[in-house]
């Protein structure tokens, strides 16, 4: 069998695909962060906690209302998105005129509180969430066994990412949004309700996080700490891609998933740190991130 650096090419293809799957979680989460930063200037540290809540809402829906995965995919982002709207209206909107740091501190505190409450109530070892029957099983690709659910995750999150990019970069609504970030006073003068637009944008970013949470629930346990474990990596992804850049966060999300997957073959011990090494290198060479622009 042919091999590259001592690793069989078959295994290598498998790892690339696995990387792509993990990358789709990074992409979905960093996309939400980028949208929120780009339009609200808030570094949303609560993103991981909201992702976790997305998974928990899916769990509650199943336990209490008997609503399965497909309903959760629709309902959970709406529920958590509405919570985001409440957070924005009651807390975040008071911070827009202040430094980034205040938003970061507030959302970080919120994340700690939310995670602490969930951990107290549900413990740290997680709760089981069954895979939807339609997506159970998998197929052999010759070089690896691909679970159907993982394939679905790639397709679904890629679709969501591209749709979001299209709305923001190619539609009229998106152009309003982008204009509002450049000059809110002027856009307001044209009769557009900028505060409401910002609120809905935050709600949308949060809904993306919750959506990722629902997607994650059948793979990982529904766990109060799932967001805390992931959020730092996702921030690194966003920094590498360039804060606020939509396409940047999508592309780097997938790319870094692949880099991480490959590290797990060649030097697994470093798989948790490789992303931060790349972040340091990127910051040295291009402090705005790969796709970021100077503001």
């Amino acid at each position: 069998m042919s091999s590259i650096f001592g690793v069989p090419t078959q295994a290598l293809f498998g790892q690339l695909l696995i990387g792509l799957i993990n990358g789709s979680f990074y992409a979905l989460l960093s996309l939400g962060l980028s949208v929120i930063f780009g339009l609200l200037n808030i570094i949303n540290f609560a993103h991981g906690a909201l992702y976790m809540m997305g998974a928990f809402v899916a769990y509650f829906l199943l336990q209490w209302a008997g609503l399965g995965y497909w309903w959760a995919l629709l309902v959970s982002p709406i529920v958590v998105g509405l919570l985001g709207v409440v957070l924005e209206r009651t807390m975040l909107k008071r911070l827009y005129h202040l430094d980034h740091l205040y938003g970061l501190l507030l959302t970080f505190g919120l994340a700690l509180i939310i995670q602490g409450l969930f951990r107290n109530e549900f413990g740290s070892s997680g709760l089981p969430y069954a895979m939807p029957v339609q997506l159970a099983g998998g197929r052999s690709l010759g070089f690896m066994f691909l679970p159907n659910y993982r394939a679905w995750v790639i397709v679904f999150s890629l679709g969501t990412c591209l749709a979001t990019w299209y709305v923001i970069e190619r539609t009229k609504l998106g152009s309003y949004l982008r204009a509002a970030t450049e000059n809110p006073a002027l856009v307001q003068a044209f009769g557009i309700n900028v505060p409401r637009m910002i609120t809905l944008t935050y709600g949308f970013g949060v809904a993306l996080a919750a959506l990722a949470g629902v997607l994650a629930a059948p793979i990982y346990q529904v766990n109060p700490l799932m967001g805390a474990d992931l959020i730092i990596v996702v921030f690194a992804v966003v920094v590498i891609g360039g804060l606020g850049s939509i396409m940047g966060s999508i592309l780097t999300g997938f790319a870094l998933g692949i880099v991480e997957g490959l590290t797990k073959v060649f030097y697994p011990e470093a798989s948790n740190t490789v992303i931060f090494v790349i972040m340091a290198l990127v910051l040295l060479v291009k402090p705005t991130g790969l796709f970021g622009r100077e503001k």
């Binding site: 696995i18 740290s124 070892s125 089981p128 793979i219 346990q221």
Partner: protein, 410 residues
């Protein structure tokens, strides 16, 4: 002027601290400062929090109450802290506890990396340590200490209990997925020895960082190795994630099997029986063993959000009970002397029954090879295990002369 005053005050404080430190050691009263202080040092917030965590604090408090310390005129206080699975944080807390807060005994200490560090500090400070959850067999081997008792289980016991049983069933080729720190390395080493001794082969191994979310890459490598058994030398959330994702990748359907080398009741609860059924592993305690363990489990669950006791919680309870017995007999809480006494008097508690503590600090009791029930076989919440075999006390742990513990005279 100001600087001189500052220097003088600092010097005075330093002198006070130094003399305070010296005078505190040769305590005149039998029980230092009148209080027996027990510090539960464990993971309160991360992947090992359910299998130990607050449950260990509850178990320690129950042991103190059941012992009747108050009636006997003994003042016992239980405190706890979160070491976050970081040896530096754990060491710092241990030093702070011993030096400033007059803690007499440190308890539980999951994560072998942290436990090995605290083991050394306890030895230097001549206090006492009762380990219930750290697993590395080095704690009673090369790193054994006259100030430490290792209570519940260790990597050698797990390796021999589970490894022997599986290799004898024909599972002779192995691939290890190992947590990359002291515990994982020790467990992998001990299981590998068992596999090789029984004529099996290790086809490969991969080491992952502690608290890994995604195991798919490692599972793919294990799958490609074609090994009959994938040995999981990790614990808590790492084990449950690996097993759950293994189901997704069709590991068991493809003819390979998982060997959970360290699995706890709370892990099975988190996985659900649907995913966990059929897993075989070693435990030294199960709540449904007999009337006494069931009675304990009920009282414990009432105080611990319904979570039933793991073997770690049981070890904490039994360890505190025996520690207090030794303190009572000795009428002193001098760490080194208490540990000597703990080894002299036989152990007897409702959870592990009668047992002994060896000179290397190893507590000896039977172990159980258990199998997780099918969902249909489980009749009540937390009814999860079938006991497949009982490993007698004299075979469950590493023979005294094989541990290379310097306390053991050749």
């Amino acid at each position: 002027m100001l600087i001189r005053r500052f220097v003088m005050v600092t010097a005075a404080l330093a002198a006070a601290a130094a003399f305070g430190g010296i005078t505190a050691v040769p305590a005149q009263t039998p029980i230092s400062d009148g209080i027996i202080k027990i510090g539960v040092l464990n993971d309160q917030s991360s992947l090992y929090a359910d299998l130990g965590g607050q449950g260990s604090v509850v178990a320690a408090k129950m042991a103190v109450e059941d012992f009747g310390a108050e009636k006997k005129g003994m003042k016992v206080e239980v405190i706890f802290a979160d070491h976050q699975n970081k040896p530096d944080v754990g060491s710092q807390i241990a030093r702070q506890w011993y030096d400033a807060e007059k803690v007499d005994m440190i308890l539980d200490v999951p994560n072998s990396g942290v436990a090995l560090a605290v083991n050394q500090i306890t030895r230097d400070k001549k206090r006492a340590m009762v380990i219930s959850s750290a697993a590395s067999s080095d704690l009673t081997g090369k790193a054994c200490s006259p100030n430490t008792v290792h209570w519940t289980y260790d990597t050698w016991a797990l390796a021999n209990g589970t490894g022997n049983a599986l290799v004898k069933q024909g599972a002779d080729t192995w691939f290890f997925i190992t947590a990359d720190y002291a515990f994982g390395h020790a467990l992998e080493r001990d299981v590998e020895a068992v596999v090789l001794k029984n004529g099996g082969k290790v086809l490969g191994k991969v080491r992952h960082p502690l608290n890994t979310q995604d195991f798919s890459s490692f599972l793919l490598q294990a799958q490609a190795s074609k090994a009959k058994v994938i040995g999981l030398a990790n614990a808590g959330g790492d084990t449950t994630n690996a097993i759950k994702q293994g189901a997704e990748f069709g590991i068991v359907r493809g003819g390979q099997n998982f060997a959970g080398l360290l699995v706890f009741l709370t892990d099975v609860h988190a996985l659900g029986l649907q995913t966990a059924q059929g897993l075989v592993f070693t435990e030294t305690f199960y709540w449904d063993l007999n009337d006494r363990t069931r009675a304990f489990a009920k009282r414990f669950a009432d105080r611990n959000r319904g979570i039933h006791p793991t073997m770690i919680h049981a070890g904490v309870y039994a360890g505190v009970t025996h520690y207090l017995k030794a303190v009572e007999a000795l009428k002193s809480d001098d760490g080194t002397k208490v540990i000597v006494r703990m080894k002299e008097i036989p152990t007897d508690d409702p959870l592990f029954g009668k047992g002994t503590i060896r000179v290397d600090g190893r507590k000896i009791h039977p172990a159980y090879l258990v199998e997780v029930k099918k969902p249909a076989e489980s009749k009540a919440p937390w009814d999860y295990y079938k006991i497949r075999a009982t490993i007698p006390a004299d075979q469950a742990f590493r023979p005294l002369d094989q541990g290379e513990c310097p306390l053991v005279k050749k």
